[in-house]
Symmetry: C2
């Protein structure tokens, strides 16, 4: 099933790795509920199951990959500590997982990170190391810590353990629902999408797995079309979790297995965020509303179908709502 048509990596995780991840992390993450919205179903004519990772610890699926990567470390390695750089939910996820395992942790964040994301890290007693908001600066800050402590870097997405951890969302969904016609997943760095593809293409081979991406951060779409990883050209989408490029581990999985990638406008993302809040009463951040935006933009394609949507995160900043 899993083709190996690429030279990008030799360590592609498989379904068994996701199963092992779920066994490893299940004491530390929540089996999130699958919720429905009869009112949105009536409006769209689509029967939607929302897999609610917005209700996960730290408010995002990132809790899974971070726990899997950190609990998979052998003891000696773990006690040298972990380090990560992230502007978003992965930062809090690593802080939490390291605190749970009681190992040293450093979280590098850009100094323009959203206040609610910085507060989420501090909630676990971790003071983030702030750096200039450039890839070079955060890379340098991270490598400096590694040089001094020999800590392990926990990558937000481009790591087989992280991908396997994120795949547990879809693995749980296959245990909670009957096979669906399609699953819509947001794509940023591709960890959640790659993990979902590994699981769904093995267990529900008839189910389409469709990625949704902001048109203002369409690097995954362009990479898929081009057959190689493309740079992110803009970083101004309100879906701040989806501004990252695909990685060497995530891209080959996506390239070989994804059924489609749909692009959505900023207006559609804001509208979708608000609709999920006001009509489904589900708290989602803009990145998590991107698949719903794709569904409503392409509703005729999904009408009459049973569709799963992974709500990836619920850390909406209520002091700066995207429409205000």
């Amino acid at each position: 099933m899993l083709m190996d048509s690429t030279t990008y990596n030799e360590t592609r995780p498989a379904l068994n790795d996701v199963r092992a991840a779920l066994a490893r992390i299940s004491p530390f993450v929540r089996r999130t509920p699958v919720l429905v919205s009869p009112e949105l179903d009536e409006q769209t004519g689509v029967t939607v199951s929302f897999k609610c990772e917005n209700l996960q610890y730290v408010g995002a699926f990132k809790a899974r990959g971070a726990c899997n990567a950190i609990y998979a470390l052998d003891k000696a390695t773990a006690y040298r500590g972990v380090v990560t750089h992230s502007s978003g939910n992965h930062a809090a996820a690593v802080a939490r997982a390291a605190r749970l395992r009681d190992i040293p942790v450093t979280v590098v964040m850009p100094d323009n990170a959203r206040p609610n994301k910085i507060a989420a890290v501090r909630r676990f007693g971790v003071e983030p190391v702030l750096c200039a908001p450039t890839a070079a600066a955060r890379e340098a800050a991270t490598m400096d810590i590694v040089a001094h402590t020999n800590a392990t870097v926990v990558h937000p997405y481009d790591d087989p353990l992280t991908i396997a951890g994120q795949g547990t969302v879809a693995l749980e969904l296959t245990q909670q629902a009957e096979p669906l016609d399609a699953i819509l997943v947001p794509v940023g760095g591709g960890g959640l999408l790659a993990g979902t593809l590994i699981v769904i293409k093995s267990l529900w081979p008839q189910t389409k797995v469709i990625a949704a991406e902001p048109a203002r951060a369409d690097d995954a779409y362009r990479s898929w079309k081009a057959g190689r990883v493309q740079d992110v050209l803009h970083t101004d989408t309100c879906a701040d979790g989806l501004r990252t490029p695909l990685g060497q581990h995530t891209f080959p999985i996506i390239r070989s297995l994804v059924d489609d990638i749909l692009l959505v406008s900023e207006e559609a993302i804001v509208r979708a965020t608000r609709q999920l809040l006001e009509q489904a009463r589900l708290v989602v951040e803009p990145s998590a509303a991107v698949p719903w935006a794709a569904l409503t933009d392409h509703v005729s394609r999904f009408r009459g179908k049973r569709v799963g949507i992974i709500l990836s995160g619920g850390n909406l900043d209520f002091d700066h709502l995207p429409w205000s």
Copy 2:
């Protein structure tokens, strides 16, 4: 179990009326999920089950009482139509139930009702009749319609059928959870509280049923202490669903069965609304956050206990958040 120690009414609904209500309305309302928040449980030391009527049709438990009252009408009566006056969720609930049964409906609303509550009525194709924001004006407008059409008035809470309908929330909860140590319920007019008491005091006699009320609208507390219905002295609480006085049907049930009534400040209500949104990622309107405010204000009383909270509604106005 249900004492009849009062002269207020002779038609107190009983558990069987709630069972009949659930059978009657179940095609038209949602069996709402019971959700948990591991993060809030960790913070408080209380194990909380949220019965999510914020995820009910029209975003509130009011869908239940309105459906029960309207579907209980005989055909001839029903086809003369129904009328109600409400500034809030009951208005949309009656509009929806009447549309479902396909009978005439008039909804009287004060002209200062919140725009999102007016929009909720219009969503069902019903244009509300706006009147001056006084009890006299809305009573006159309602009676005028009754005089002309012989329509049936669907009271928002002070009616045995409405009370029995609201009791289905607790009846479902007893089917979804093991017996709890306590259940916290908001009290406005008392329909939800009375319905909950009828069910819980019959089926879970060991469970405390505790009402929560804004200190700025403490008429239920004063009525309970005085032994007779007291007027509402202020109408400026942000919990706009809880500004109504108790009724002749709801008060006797509450007086004889409620275990306690806790008062909470406006600050606590706003903080609770925000905490449920940001940390539990549950969309609640301020009225629905009042029980959570009571729990956090009295946390030592509930620590180590299993507590149910009825989240009564999710129609938060995102254009006018209570803390902005």
